[in-house]
Amino acid sequence: MSVWPEERVTTAEGDLDTVDMTVNVGPQHPATHGVFRMVLTVDGELVVDCEPYIGYLHRGLEKLSENADYRQAMGWWDRTDYLAGMCCEGAYTMAVEKLAGIEVPERAEYIRVIMMELSRINSHFMFLGAFGADVGSFGTSFVYAWRERERIYDLFEEVAGDRMFPTYFRIGGVTMDLPDNFESRCRWVLSSVRQGLEDFDGLLTGNEVFVERCKDLTPVTPEQAIAWGFTGPMLRATGVPWDIRKAEPYSVYPELDFEIPVGLQGDVFDRFHVRLAECYQSVRIIEQCLEQMPEGRVLAPKLPKTLRINEGEIYMPTEGTKGEYGVYMMARGGTQPYRAKLRSPSFCNLSALKELVVGSYVADAIIILGSLDIVLGEVDK
């Protein structure tokens, strides 16, 4: 018997006629990792349609940047990928520096790489913790992730004076040199991160329930991934070893030795595993930086008090934590950019959500969304 009079109920055996139901998920929902809303049309437990809605966190980053000094705008770029503020600062400052032709001292480049890689670990830990919670190990993975993230944030606070939005980078270098005890503190944090990664490996990779749920869920071929505009771990999970740090190197990455972890078939488990493996590579990069880092200046000398850029155009791609974090900028004289545009990786990865979740179960749709590792500050700009 149907509860609702409009529902058609058939009694024919083997051919049950059901009515599609619309389920609204978000924008205030823990599983959407921020203010993201999707409307699922479900047929029983199967998702037959998905309509994503974004823009709840739209703050007009590009308009604000066009109306602010080159140096002032950096604070807002921090707040795009707020889990890895330093990576965003890096992309923005590098775009402006290339546009203005400013050289950065080598020590500052090494400090930047250390900070960007710590941010990457930080962001990936957020993913590992939240993804574990999505799949079902509610408290444990989150607490494991938070333990390491707190230590990294403490280190950021010691270096830059702030935890999430440090605004530590400057056009031409970084604000101040590292504290005296930085190397020993950093090595301690790295050993702790290694331990945290081992714990995650044991908790999730070695967990049969976790593997059962993630293996073979929405495998993506490299052709599909490229057509949908996937970059970063989402693309590497399909087996394409493409990382902008190697493909179009910037900063001091050419002098550092690291590998690009790739997945086998682009399913949810591969996306998880690529991010886990990437953290180990980030640790390697930071250790090399600590050894190779030269002494010297951390800010280019003789920088103009007010930065003016006459003419020029740049698209600066960097490897953000979620994929290709690109900054497009056009200068036409004056102290403000004529146009600043963010190519946000989460935005591009999320645009294929419908193709990924249609045909899977509702419970799996949550995992698939989690495996995209979106950060809404970056999606909505």
């Binding site: 974004i54 823009g55 739209h58 007009g60 590009e62 308009k63 604000l64 066009e66 109306n67 290339k98 546009l99 490229i226 057509a227 949908w228 505009g229 970059t231 394409v240 493409w242 493909a247 179009e248 020029g312 155009e313 740049i314 698209y315 600066m316 791609p317 290709e324 690109g326 497009y328 056009m330 146009r339 545009k341 190519r343 935005f347 591009c348 645009s351 294929a352 909505d380 700009k381």
Partner: protein, 171 residues
């Protein structure tokens, strides 16, 4: 301008000229990639050529930037990348002034869908043939284009029902 522009065009531009001889474009340098300026009527042919030609095979659409060039009207910039050859390009297509129309490239690059929706709402470009031309980041019924240069940075909070005029016109 870098030294390359003086000596000649970068390799990739020469390659495009060689492989797609029938499509006219103007070349200019940016700080990272070569920029090809193409008329809107040739845009689809150029993008199809860049994507399908085995020597070029630009398979990744990285980004679309919508620009308001004030008196010169609206423009769209496309950043493309080729995984097979590891080269990259930027295309610039100016949109004709009263209609602001450009052909949609969603048929060639599914990734263009959200980029074009964003470009359409932010500066008011019209992508003909787009499968889903709704607002993406802004309210669904909002017909303003905040990234137009004429659009003020701050405005009254009640925006429903307000429409931005044609490009270059003060609102």
């Amino acid at each position: 301008m870098s030294a390359e522009a003086v000596i000649g065009e970068p390799e990739i531009v020469a390659l495009v000229r060689e492989r797609l001889p029938n499509i006219p474009f103007e070349f200019s340098e940016t700080k990272t990639y070569a920029d090809l300026r193409v008329a809107p009527e040739h845009l689809l042919a150029l993008v199809t050529g860049l994507r399908e030609d085995p020597e070029l095979s630009f398979d990744l659409l990285r980004n679309i930037v919508a620009m308001d060039m004030e008196e010169d009207g609206l423009e769209a910039k496309y950043q493309l990348y080729s995984f097979r050859h590891g080269h990259a390009l930027q295309l610039t297509a100016p949109a004709p002034i009263p209609s602001c129309e450009l052909p949609s490239i969603t048929g060639l690059y599914p990734a263009a869908n959200w980029h074009e929706r964003e470009a359409a709402e932010m500066v008011g470009l019209v992508f003909t043939g787009h499968p889903d031309p709704r607002n993406l980041l802004l309210e669904e019924d909002l017909r303003i284009h905040p990234l137009r240069k004429a659009h003020p940075l701050q405005k009254a909070e009640i925006l429903q029902g307000i429409e931005d005029g044609p490009p270059g016109v003060e609102v």
